[in-house]
């Protein structure tokens, strides 16, 4: 459990951090159990760049946290400092329209009486021009909405509306972009349609983004940093690869234990339709999806390896159908709730891998922390 203390940050640190330490109580939004007050209490120091995913089940307080940061919801006490600029503390309370933020709501909220283009102009007209890092043409091109600008919101699909809403938020020239489950109201197909735009956004716009989601897929594809929220409290926060490789964190029912590795494509085997991904700690052969051909320019890839797809061996077995065999060192052994099974944490360079094996195997192979062995990886899923 890592809940950071914000009390002791040096000034230099404050410059590039998003500090949010706040407490808010409110009646449950369902309204049925109005007396069951919900309490949000977080103390966060988040990196001032990249995408930070705020992840948790519905009702965990994700949206409330975002609304508190935006000043749309009152908080009892707290402090919000974004890259050195105080938005809220004992003396200051900036109303929403004076905070340098962009906000993307869950359902694409465009002004229905304005065309897509005029929705963008609404933001541009009111945005501070000093230090503008983006211009309209760039953003319109980035979000692929050039041909949509003359239409009214009612004439756009859900996905198109959301892309316009994202473009509009970016054109306020924000210091922080807040996105509240921007894909949750869309069906699977539309989601897949927008994700590449968000990935481009991540690569091309240097802007800290807080991204609320309950989708692990969105976390693994987009986020650099992760905050796990449960019942209004921070369960864990950290680099996304580290958190996803922690066997003790419950990421929700139906989410299998596994780890995430980030690497780059270093070799392509056209004959067998494979690509080689090098990450810190080894190399993996991965099935070459069409995905890669199309996106050859993407410098890095992320892969996910489920713990149940990793087995352990004391020697490098040559005669096996398994393609990926990597030398690793045992970092720890954790219970996983099943009396017959355990999760072995492996260290490969700076990367971590999890292997789910039977306790009997651990005993028979006398696996213990510090031991060097071979990890055999049966399957690798490419995330992006």
């Amino acid at each position: 459990m890592t809940v950071s203390a914000t009390s002791a940050h040096s000034p230099a640190e404050l410059e590039e951090k998003i500090l949010a330490s706040l407490e808010a109580r409110m009646a449950h939004q369902s309204g049925i159990t109005a007396d069951a007050a919900f309490r949000l209490a977080v103390d966060l120091a988040l990196p001032g760049k990249g995408i930070t995913a705020i992840f948790g089940a519905s009702g965990s307080g994700k949206t409330t946290l975002l609304r508190c940061l935006a000043g749309l919801q009152s908080i009892d006490s707290g402090r919000v400092v974004v890259n050195g600029e105080t938005w809220h503390d004992e003396e200051t309370f900036l109303p929403t329209h004076q905070r340098g933020l962009g906000f993307v709501f869950q359902e694409a909220s465009l002004f229905e009486h304005l065309t897509a283009g005029d929705n963008l102009n609404y933001a541009i007209k009111r945005a501070p021009q000093a230090g503008a890092t983006v211009n309209k043409e760039q953003i319109v091109e980035l979000m692929g909405i050039t041909t949509l600008l003359g239409r009214l919101p009612a004439q756009l699909s859900g996905g198109e509306r959301q892309r316009v809403a994202i473009a509009r938020a970016l054109l306020t020239n924000p210091r922080l972009l807040l996105m509240d489950e921007p894909l949750a109201a869309l069906d699977h197909k539309r989601r897949q349609e927008i994700l590449p735009y968000l990935e481009r956004l991540h690569q091309e716009v240097s802007l800290p983004i807080l991204y609320v989601t309950h989708s692990l897929e969105e976390v693994t594809r987009l986020a650099d940093h992760l905050v796990l929220l449960d019942e209004g409290l921070v369960v864990a926060q950290g680099e996304v690869g580290d958190l996803l490789s922690r066997p003790d964190l419950n990421l929700g029912s139906g989410v299998e234990t596994g780890s995430m590795l980030t690497g780059e494509i270093v070799q392509r085997d056209e004959r067998w339709h494979l690509v080689k991904v090098r990450f810190d700690g080894g190399e993996l052969w991965v099935r070459d999806h069409d995905h890669f051909y199309q996106q050859a320019a993407v410098p890095t890839v992320r892969v996910r390896v489920l713990a149940r797809d990793v087995s352990l061996s004391l020697t490098e077995e040559d005669h096996s159908s398994i393609l990926n065999r990597l030398p690793a060192q045992v970092a720890g052994i954790a219970d996983d709730g099943d009396p017959a099974m355990a999760t072995v944490q492996l260290q490969l360079g700076s990367s971590r891998l999890l292997a789910r094996v039977s306790r009997r195997s651990i005993d028979e192979l006398s696996i213990r922390p510090g031991q060097k062995l071979w990890a055999q990886i049966k399957s690798v899923a490419v995330l992006r």
């Binding site: 935006a70 000043g71 749309l72 109303p95 929403t96 329209h97 004076q98 933020l101 962009g102 906000f103 709501f105 909220s109 002004f111 229905e112 009486h113 609404y122 933001a123 009111r126 945005a127 509009r168 938020a169 306020t172």
Partner: protein, 236 residues
């Protein structure tokens, strides 16, 4: 046959009264409707009921109390006399005050409904796009609730044209000052000038029908506030 000169004077006076009343009601009614749509105050119900009272009270009741309040010894009359404005009963501005109160629900309720239908989201959205409170009202509320404003204006105007009881109680029957069309019709009938009465009465029927036809014909179109003046109900 056609309108007599006195008829024309009455029509001009009626239009002037209705326009003045509608203008004042939009200025007063908009913040009141906004408060009724958004407040959680325990006074909300009481204020809403007060505003709706003219829907159910006989106009003579309202006119009676206004007459007392505006008379030289009444609370408002004492103030206007002290300010050197004289007393207001049997003057045009006395009629304006009566009409404002009498037509209040017809302006406030459509506005309130359309503000409630707008909801909080467009305003929150505008705030995140750096629009301040006044900017939000001008750039979001007015365009998105424009049908509510139009409905409120049309109904406020039409209802003022149609009043009789309040006028009779506090306005009397002074040509060019307080003798509006409805009073003029009454006079024609009293003096058995049925032909003249037909012209004015028929014109009012036609006018009122066209107004209501427009309002109800537009109901259900996007953004138009639903109104139900007869019941004074709040519906979306």
């Amino acid at each position: 046959m056609g309108f007599t000169e006195a008829d024309i004077v009455a029509i001009a006076l009626t239009l002037r009264l209705a326009l003045t009343t509608t203008g004042i009601l939009l200025v007063l009614g908009t913040p009141l409707a906004w408060w009724l749509a958004h407040s959680n105050s325990r006074w909300r119900g009481a204020v809403g009921a007060l505003v709706a009272l003219p829907l159910v009270l006989p106009p003579t009741v309202l006119g009676f109390y206004l007459l007392i309040a505006l008379s030289p010894n009444g609370p408002i009359g004492q103030i206007t006399t002290a300010l050197g404005l004289g007393t207001l009963p049997f003057t045009f501005w006395g009629l304006v005050i009566g009409s404002v109160l009498y037509s209040m629900p017809f302006v406030v309720q459509p506005l309130q409904n359309s503000f409630m239908a707008l909801g909080a989201r467009p305003l929150e959205m505008a705030a995140t796009l750096r629009a301040g409170p006044w900017d939000r009202f001008v750039s979001v509320v007015i365009p998105q609730c424009r049908h509510g404003f139009i409905t409120a204006s049309v109904l406020g105007f039409a209802h003022t044209v149609g009043e009789f009881g309040v006028v009779l109680m506090i306005g009397g029957n002074i040509p060019g000052q307080t003798r509006v069309v409805s009073v003029q019709i009454y006079d024609h009938v009293e003096s058995l000038n049925y032909d003249q009465a037909h012209w004015l009465a028929g014109s009012l029927v036609l006018f009122s029908f066209l107004v209501l036809f427009w309002v109800y014909g537009n109901q259900g179109k996007s953004g138009l506030a639903r109104i139900n003046p007869g019941l004074g109900s709040v519906s979306r």
